[in-house]
Assembly symmetry: C2
């Protein structure tokens, strides 16, 4: 639990970025935001810096921050990095996984299966919970934090291809395969499934981006 006001403000601004309520590409004025959200510029500045560090905003340095446009290149890089780093984390985790953690992971998958009334954001969050639950067992805070940050940044792209989500079935299938491999402590198989899983998601996203941004 953080202190409430800033936490709320953070959530609100992030939501507004997600739903394109804030202008893309042009610098955000602190004072304008201050009036818009009904707080002084101080907490606005804090939140802006935080969002900048999480990839929701980009700072052109001297000029103010702005909402960055989506690019295929960024998506490609993010998924590429995840493709190489997450299997490392999983590799450390597998030998240490206990029954309880595996149960929790299975539970997340079950919830995703019944994803009728869930928003795309909630779905993304559950997806991360599943992965994070396994990764935490690795007990590698530094590696974990970097991976978590990459996920955050990918999250910015999640709302983008909303409907294109018949992909969810394929994803869940891979999740269950992964869980199976992990349960049996099959290190290399697990890593390979995970790598393919991330690679697939990345390819779909990048392809979609290339199409969408080409007009």
């Amino acid at each position: 639990m953080q202190k409430q006001p800033a936490q709320q403000l953070y959530a609100k601004i992030k939501l507004d970025i997600r739903s394109n309520q804030l202008p893309v590409g042009e610098p955000l004025k602190q004072e304008a935001l201050s009036k818009r959200y009904g707080v002084s510029r101080i907490p606005i500045r804090d939140v802006l810096q935080r969002l900048k560090n999480e990839g929701w905003l980009t700072g052109s340095g001297k000029r103010g921050v702005m909402v960055p446009p989506f690019t295929a290149g960024e998506a490609e890089d993010l998924y590429m990095m995840r493709m190489y780093l997450e299997p490392l984390l999983l590799g450390h985790a597998i030998p240490k996984l206990n029954q309880q953690t595996l149960g929790k992971a299975a539970d997340f998958l079950a919830v995703i299966d019944q994803s009728k009334g869930l928003t795309i954001e909630e779905l993304g969050e559950l997806n991360w919970q599943f992965h994070a639950c396994l990764y935490e067992a690795a007990n590698r805070p530094t590696l974990f934090n970097t991976v978590a940050a990459l996920h955050q940044q990918c999250g910015r792209y999640i709302g983008f291809h909303s409907q294109k989500l018949n992909y969810l079935e394929a994803s869940q299938k891979e999740h269950y395969q992964l869980l199976d491999a992990v349960k049996q402590k099959q290190l290399n198989r697990g890593k390979n499934i995970l790598k393919a899983h991330i690679s697939d998601a990345g390819e779909i996203l990048v392809e979609y981006l290339l199409q969408s941004l080409h007009f």
Copy 2:
């Protein structure tokens, strides 16, 4: 160029962290820092958050930030990540490298060779310049930024094993090998040299940390 005061403050505090002028492990008080550096708490807060995001400070969330202790685990993770990500960047860069960039890279190595009067920090900076100079050619901002951040975090450890730096000769040898491979556009050889280069540095550091922290 940024606005001066905050930039200076940032540099000063970072230097004080490096040289152990600030207490390790116990929370830093904003007001105390404010008095110490002769500015109000506002810029202090900004700088603290920034340093936190760069790994020079850790925030236990609700409680204030603190100077994190060195751990072998963190060093291991940082070098592991670099080992996997930097070759990717180099791979993208090699086909795009031109004569001018290669010349610049060679110049950096030459400067390092004459490193009589340089501090360990300046040496680390030059080392990064050499690598960054190659990596920038890749034109992969997202990947580059992550790698740069990892370097930053490694930088925290650089001052640690000051004297243990007969390692520099080996490092330079590897640098020249790398430059040679890159000049000849030998993609796989270059990647392998780089991977080994990072791996070596990581091992030396981790080993030293394990010894130092064990008493």
